[in-house]
Symmetry: C2
Subunit: 212 residues, 2 copies
DNA sequence: GTGCGATGTATCGGTCCGATACATCGCGGC
DNA sequence: GCCGCGATGTATCGGACCGATACATCGCAC
């Protein structure tokens, strides 16, 4: 999972570890907390050993002056290799069971812009199935085993059930959207989410593209 | 976290591993998938080594006949010790940062029936604070960094933001409820959650109690 | 009578986290 | 002028937890 996320991010631009962690936090903030360095650095080394990423020379400010001053053994910038891009494509397309758990789905979804439509659909439907199963489990417990559980536990289940029902509806919208037409956006109904209305053209140099 | 969950469950009744896993799945189904045996059995051994649980003799059906037939090296039933109960009380009351992440909060909440009101309040408020922070983070990204991200990533953030807002409201209700009055139940508004209306008396032998 | 799914215990390798350590840089306060 | 402090940055270690796997028993349907 981490492999996929890192490969995906490095595909947008070369980065060093710290930056990677921040970008990851921004991209996956809805899914999980920032990744730990205890995972990040070993993973970077593993990816490098596998030949999927390489160290890129840190560009000195004006190509001199900076180097051996106080020995400066600072940032290590990584960039993705051709093999790394292949590996990413492979990871993003292949779906195991872990693709549909909370984290796995989140990571895949976050890179949907680099995924073909058929795969997107497959993943969305797999996720829906999984959440539906969880939902049924909760309904069972709430229906059949209700008197065995205390009020707090029941309240927890109800809240979980509610979340499941919501997510299924969300997925339905995304699937419908995906099947016929475009735009991954789900129609906002009553939500208070400070969405800015103007869509000014993206500042040039910000949106990076690479191989159409 | 696992320690707390196991100690809590064993406080309701002695159980063997398999049963423990099922009960845990029922109690925490809203929070996380069933716990893995690769965690469960080592943890049981650790708890036993610490003196918090002990093996209880498997009760033979009518106190004989069953034993050495085919050597029967079957189920290992665990029960909690006095030290274990102390440990549980300590774990349930003390709140570190991990108390407020998804899993930690879920486990604590599931045992709120065994927690005093002050602690309940403290945990609910801690959780609320944490979710509020996550919410602010998402709003930031959605507001400030929106043009850096693709439509799918944005949709993911919006869905996450929505979930945060919902959870905060849920927590608010629970906190208000907790502060003045009783009943951990949040008023159901529009939810379609097949809640059965009759509350027939629980079948005897089902609800186990142990020390009032 | 046999196969098969549920029950049941157990281990192993791998992933990821949290705590910790350490070094540099820029900036504001004294 | 310099001192501390928070942000930036790389790195390791022990521990928690998971997923796959193995293996044995039981009851029941075919």
């Amino acid at each position: 999972m981490l492999d996929l996320a890192i490969l995906g991010l490095l595909q947008e631009s070369p980065m060093h570890g710290y930056e990677l962690r921040k970008e990851l936090a921004a991209k996956l903030g809805a899914i999980r907390a920032a990744i730990s360095y205890g995972s990040l650095y070993p993973t970077l080394r593993r990816l490098q050993a596998a030949g999927w990423i390489t160290e890129a020379a840190e560009t000195p400010v004006t190509a001199e002056e900076v180097p051996a001053l106080t020995s400066r053994r600072g940032r290590v910038v990584y960039k993705i290799t051709a093999e790394g891009k292949e590996r990413f494509a492979q990871l993003i397309a292949q779906a195991g069971p872990e693709t549909y758990d909370d984290t796995g789905f989140g990571v895949h979804f976050a890179f949907f812009a680099r995924t073909d439509q058929a795969t997107r659909l497959r993943i969305l439907e797999g996720r829906r199935r999984k959440i539906e199963e969880r939902r049924e489990g909760l309904r069972d417990v709430l229906g059949r085993a209700a008197e065995r559980l205390d009020a707090y536990t029941l309240e927890l289940q109800r809240h979980g059930l509610d979340a499941c029902e919501r997510e299924v509806r969300w997925l339905e919208e995304l699937i419908a959207n995906e099947r016929s037409g475009r735009a991954p956006t789900v129609p906002r109904t009553g939500t208070a989410g400070g969405r800015r209305e103007d869509n000014s053209p993206p500042p040039p140099g910000e949106t990076r593209k690479e191989r159409p």
